[in-house]
Amino acid sequence: MLRRIGAFLFGDSARAFGTLAAVLLVCLAITPAKDHFREWHRYQKKYLGLIRTRGDAATLQRRFQDGLQQTWIPELGVVDRCTTCHVAMKEISLQDVATQPFRPHPSIPHTLTEFGCAMCHRGQGAATGVQEAHSSTLAWEQPVLAARYVESGCGQCHSNALTGTPQLNLGRKMLARYGCVSCHAIREPGQGRMQSTNPAPPLTRISAKTSREWIFAWLKDPQAYAQTATMPNFQLSDDDARDISAFLMNQSAAPPAAASPAPAAAADPQAGASVYGESFCASCHATVNAAGLVVGGNIGPELTRIGSKVKPDWLMEWLSSPKKYDPHTLMPRYRFEQKQLDLLAGFLQAKTDSDLLAKVQLQPASAGQIAHGKILVKERGCASCHEINGVAKPESFAPDLTMIGSQSLAKIVFAEGVAHTLPDYLQAKIRNPHSFGKATKMPQYTFPASQVDALVTALLAQTERAQALPASLRVAGKRESDYHPAGKAGQLIADMNCFSCHAINGRGGDMAPELTWEGSSVQRKWLVSFLKNPNTLRPALIRRMPRFNVTNAEAETLADYIMTVYQTPSFDGGELDAAKFGPDEVEHGRQLFYSKYACQSCHIVDSKSDKGYIGPTLTHVGARLSAEWIVQWLKNPQSLRPGTIEPNRNMSDEDARALTAYLMKQNREVAGK
């Protein structure tokens, strides 16, 4: 039988020709069949099945386009075919569908076709197969980015802080805050190198400040001294820490002769604590309280064990005039009286930890150790952050991270056990640099997982594509201006380091209200008295403006300057006279305040009945703010202070005027009583 079939098919050349021709045709016909059974066909069929039973099936079907779909943006080099399978990207009515690829895209500020998909999500946009599109293949290195890093996509264009990208913003802040940018150059597209926002203290006079033993203990483990310490652990051996401490003491300029006497030995701890509290030191400095919690700000260093660190003479000098030791410090000069100084210094000096230096036994340093210490300081890049005598700040000490987010995996050496993807590499590198070999110079940080994620997100935004994007797409970030107020007031502002907390004309911190238009906002009389004795405006806040013991003349100078210079261009402050408001208007304003706009839910006018603690107290607002400012503020708060949480109620002119009339009254009544 077989033989007969064989003879029929291949009996002679002609039969063999015919048979093989048929076989060849069949084989060739498999190719279009293979095309027909590609994955995306299946998904599109599945989608049609899914929507058939839904209420809006007709609409969905009409909007569905079959066949290959693509977003093609030649100028950006985008060819994304993701929507071939992810067919329901724009169908908000499918919000409840849990199975991919049919879930709609969450709402974003861009249209989905503006930049394509792979720009943010990575993966191989051109691919039409599940494996090729999402995974790392021989022909495509970048797999789809895990959703938790997706904010990095925004960061490619946006150098500014967006409200929708908290993780990216945090990561960028940390890059600048924790010294990353001091060793690594990170350039944002269209902008210069990212600058450190928390410069490390200079070490040029370190021997005046602290002991060699403390330096040793600190070098060995900064977090043992202060758990919030910014400095990472360099994992130095005892010998290396010994030599570095020897060198640092050796390079330090000789301490000046004791300028002020040591504080009274038996300072009253209670009184010292109250000076600490009144001065609102905790706004910037943290301490660990009895419950073991870190309480306080993170602008200055943690003070839990400050007594074990600083020398008494230095502390007195620092408290009375910080800029003498460090001209770039953010710490204001408080103008303490001698008694306050003694109490505060005594209070701080008592914050010791006997365990910290107990085990540190250092022999006097030899010349060899000092020399070796200098070599180590150069090797470890200490001078990238700290100013050190005799060691220049190294240029590009660590690899440039400007385009780390698109780094080719082939150029990366992975440590054992690290998955071969870029985010995993960055995670591992930040979490445990030494897993990449003992020679790694990068120090050990102690960030919680969420902060590492934030850092990785910020680094992933540093792509080659971001650098190459057309300038029209870039959104520049806010850069600190180098605004310097002039004259006597300028000197005062510098002396009290107002910029540490207040921002003016694009320079300064964000802890306290911005003062750029303060002169349009407040009344001069109030300002003078506030500067002399700041009272609280917001009872709910712990951080308040401290008292700087300014003299009358200084307060007048500052107030004059502020009233004259810090004026808004949007209105003229002198137009409205509070005295002209009639009683009808005041009463109408009162009704608006309590009924129509329900301002009492956030603000207090009558301290007996009102319970609003979110906004500032308004009991004395009539003495504090100018009437014109209140009108403008009520009509459009965001135009005067972008980002304020005061809601914009689209008030009519009449309502705003009436409310202002009522609020301006919140002065006389008090004053009258």
């Binding site: 050349s13 002609a14 020709f17 093989l20 084989c27 060739l28 498999i30 021989l138």
Partner: protein
């Protein structure tokens, strides 16, 4: 030698077709005798069909292979990033393997140049026309020459530590020695076969084995930095 005529005699047993005759064949002429009893067929359709059937079979095989295995495609070319190892197409891997042992001028120029030249001149050298077993004439003298060539060549290879060339050479040499020690009328068929092979056959076989071994090593047994790897161990 010059005035002495060389005679080559042949005998055709088919007396009906070929009358008994004596033929003079001098040097540098074709020694072939046109045979007339070779049956012929029409090129069309028989020859053409066979060729077409052969090509069809090949096409089917290639189509099936193409349906099953995808051609390799790697990442976009990046001049800044050299893969390790960077390999040439497979048919040049033998040369690349040689490049590992010898200076570029030798491995990249002299050897391939010699190979191409040797291939071109093959039909013009009598040594290639000779169809007699290598050891059937001047055996002692040829053995001496052969021994000297093999020893010198092996010594050079040893000097450069080119075991990938040395081993196949010695293997072929062993077979040649086996052929030299075999009689044309040996009862063992393999020995009779060995002894019948002319020198050209041996040289070409040596070249073929050599090229194959080097290509296979370069393709499968070379890893990062052109270091030796075992393909089944990665």
């Amino acid at each position: 030698m010059t005035d002495e005529k060389k005679f080559v005699t042949g005998l055709d047993s088919d007396s009906r077709r070929t009358p008994l005759r004596l033929a003079f064949v001098t040097r540098r002429t074709s020694p072939q005798v046109k045979v007339t009893d070779d049956p012929v067929v029409m090129t069309y359709p028989e020859g053409i069909l066979r060729a077409v059937v052969a090509v069809q079979s090949l096409a089917i095989a290639l189509v099936v292979i193409s349906l099953i295995w995808d051609a390799p495609l790697e990442e976009l070319a990046d001049p800044m990033h050299t893969p390790n190892p960077a390999k040439a197409p497979w048919y040049f891997l033998g040369l690349q393997e040689l490049l590992h042992y010898f200076p570029p001028v030798v491995a990249g120029v002299i050897i391939p140049g010699l190979v191409v030249a040797a291939l071109i001149v093959i039909p013009y050298f009598n040594i290639n026309i000779e169809a007699e077993g290598i050891w059937l004439k001047n055996r002692q003298r040829r053995l001496r020459i052969f021994g000297a060539v093999v020893v010198i060549f092996s010594a050079v290879m040893l000097l450069f530590q080119v075991y990938a060339v040395l081993m196949p050479t010695l293997t072929i040499a062993a077979f040649m020695l086996a052929a030299a020690r075999s009689a044309p009328d040996s009862p063992v068929r393999f020995r009779r076969w060995l002894v019948s092979k002319p020198v050209a056959y041996w040289v070409m076989t040596w070249f073929l084995v050599q090229a194959s071994v080097l290509t296979i090593i370069g393709t499968f047994f070379r890893g990062p930095g052109w270091s030796w790897i075992w393909p089944w161990r990665s």
